[in-house]
């Protein structure tokens, strides 16, 4: 009994100490925040800087050289934010796609039995991940793209695609009114993928039967496309860019800032993704492949049903953080004046309006929500993959 009461008293004392420590931290935190806000308010009053978000509706008065939505100098600062955000998303999405593709191939190359390919992949990884990304961005932009020939002497692929110091000029595909049928045909193909996959899975779980998936899907797609062709003919036309005077007319022109940024971001991130892919594939035990073979699964089946799901479980968490890193790193665009959110909003707008607190906070908040959103989606996907690997049939 005596022992117990001593322990209880000791516990109570520790509990009190913990509560006191927390109260102290909370009070200190509150005072610090109060002091900071007080300073900000008095500093702003002294400098006569307006506060609040009224500037969102004011006229911006500067041009932006890549806009995915309608924008002119008369648009508001709120519109500037949207344009910047869309540009950030564009560069991130394309960068992520290219980095994944390249990283996957290099990661496989790193596992190749072929000594030469293996070493080449290693050299690539060691070079690109040990040089600062900002330096790589500047290298591609100031060193390479700005030194390309003028539009008159462009590099060209078959006089259809042009590459010069004004950027990359691609032919545009113009869709006529009948294109909707082709869209529907594609939708039918996608629906077929889901339907046949589900059917095959059910058949596998219920009867252990292996049903074909891709052959019927291809059949559906071909039939749908043929029907679209019968209904609408070929409603697409190719607009090929032509040199007029000093620049190209027609086609889609991609600004060099975009090209440099995507190039640098994907080459850099690919080196990290390659290592992740390699580690993921190596993490699958050799016995798994042997067991799959012993069960009579074909090579493809072993890959699809046994090896890839297990590798993905290891690959996805670090891959997610690489995707997030790429998105955050796209903010380095400001160094080469690609009009991303940091460049046009936390840069130009901040200089013009001068409301540092609001603008920096909004920018940070947007990146924070992008991060949280991405990790939310990837966690959901990860949970699905983990479940598929974890349930034993």
């Amino acid at each position: 009994m005596i022992d117990k009461s001593i322990i209880q008293r000791w516990r109570a004392r520790v509990g009190q100490r913990d509560v006191l420590a927390q109260i102290a931290v909370a009070v200190a935190l509150f005072l610090a925040v109060y002091w900071l806000i007080d300073n900000v308010v008095s500093n702003l009053e002294r400098q006569n800087v307006a506060s609040g978000f009224g500037f969102f509706n004011e006229r911006a008065g500067f041009g932006i050289n890549q806009t995915l939505i309608n924008y002119s100098e008369d648009s508001s600062y709120g519109r500037v934010l949207m344009v910047g955000l869309l540009n950030t998303l564009l560069v991130s999405v394309i960068g992520i796609a290219l980095a994944s593709l390249l990283g996957f191939f290099i990661g496989i190359g790193r596992l190749s039995q072929n000594w030469l390919i293996n070493r080449l992949a290693l050299v690539y990884i060691e070079i690109f991940r040990n040089v600062p990304l900002l330096l790589q961005i500047m290298f591609w932009y100031f060193g390479v793209l700005r030194n390309l020939p003028s539009p008159r002497n462009s590099f060209t692929a078959g006089d259809v695609v042009f590459f010069n110091n004004r950027g990359l000029i691609l032919p545009a595909i113009e869709a006529g009114p009948g294109a909707i049928w082709y869209g529907l045909a594609l939708l039918a193909g996608i629906a077929a993928v889901f339907w046949f996959k589900r059917r095959a899975k059910q058949a596998r779980f219920v009867a252990g039967e292996i049903l074909p998936v891709w052959r019927p899907v291809a059949l559906v797609l071909v039939v749908a496309l043929m029907m679209a062709f019968l209904l609408a003919g070929v409603p697409f036309s190719l607009e090929i860019p032509v040199l007029r005077g000093f620049n190209f007319r027609g086609g889609i022109s991609v600004i060099p800032e975009f090209v440099a940024l995507v190039l640098a971001l994907s080459l850099y991130t690919a080196s990290f993704i390659a290592e992740i892919v390699r580690a993921g594939i190596q993490s699958v035990d050799k016995g798994q492949r042997e067991a799959a073979a012993a069960l009579g699964l074909s090579n493809t089946q072993a890959l699809n049903l046994v090896l890839v799901p297990q590798a993905l479980r290891v690959i996805i968490p670090p891959l997610t953080s690489q995707y997030l890193n790429l998105t955050k790193n796209s903010s380095l665009a400001v160094a080469i004046a690609y009009p991303d959110i940091v460049s046009v909003f936390a840069g130009t707008t901040l200089t013009q309006v001068g409301q540092a607190v609001e603008i920096i906070l909004v920018t940070m908040l947007i990146y924070l929500s992008l991060s949280l959103l991405t990790s939310f989606i990837m966690n959901w996907y990860n949970a699905r993959v983990a479940l598929a690997g974890g349930s034993h049939g």
Partner: protein, 368 residues
Amino acid sequence: MAEWTPKPARPAPASTVGFVGWARRNLFATPGDVALTLFGSVFIIWLGGVLIDWAFINASFSGDDRTACLKPVQGACWPFIDAKLGQFIYGRYPEAETWRVNLVFFFGLAGLVPMLVPSAPFKSANIFFLLGFYPVFAFVMLTGGMFGLVPVETTDWGGLLVTLVVAVTGIAASLPLGILLALGRRSKLPIIRYFCLGFIEIFRGVPLITVLFMASVMLPLFLPDGVNFDKLMRCLIGVALFSSAYMAEVVRGGLQAIPKGQYEAAAALGLGYWKTTRLIILPQALKLVIPGIVNTFIGLFKDTTLVLIVGLFDLLGIVQFHFTDASWATPETHITGYVFAGAVFWVFCFAMSRYSIFMENRLSTDRQ
């Protein structure tokens, strides 16, 4: 009785040993392999040719201005690097005072190398030198204003000096801060836990560049009138806070890997929270995450280049700045400058990653 002796074994077929055997196994095992090897060789020969042409055959090696680098087929413009090397290392640090920077570099190296070599003696004296004496020494020598040294404003610092100052301070600050944050995040006291969680998630969710913008534009607003840090100091604070959030997550990974039994054993021995943490948990946890810690250091080292965006001249910033020098404006100046700066960064980062692999192998006591 003749003694039975076996015939000597025949040698292995010539095609399975030596270089031929190695090449057959590793380069020409299957038709696909042969194709890959051919493709790889052609690629290497092409790339090697381009690089050698650029760096040596078509390059200029001496000259005093841009005219040395205007050949019709021009490779690297090395005289540019040669002429600006002093700037690239010291920035605008007064030339008569660069011996002070050299002394700081020298003492740093002298303190660091024996620290990194496991068999070198006097480790505790060495730690005291690096953590106690050296920071004060470096601060006094670099800023001056004491002991008859001419004061040098941080706005005159530049080049490799700024890169190393930002990186070393960031590394030195982020490890202890990161450990505290990681411990706080696992604390059973909710207020401390949520504060650490919020801090870590916020700093990991935003790009470093916005943190630096905040440090350079917003920090002055947070301070009372008249109090101000200089720009370098503000960037140092931004970089340290940012990387400590990443460090915290790395350390947390290590903490999570420590089995519960270790805590219970420590409690059974009568150790309190801090003693348990210091003597039992952290030594094991940190050892587990050495690769992660070094990766964070490497990331931080590369991220120091971002300070150029808020107007400091680190190595990349000063190289970029000297491109505007009209007397060196040639088509090849940019690439030469970037290759030089890239090579310097690469050497530092690569050395760090190799050292981490070495330490990892040395410390892996459980897999021998």
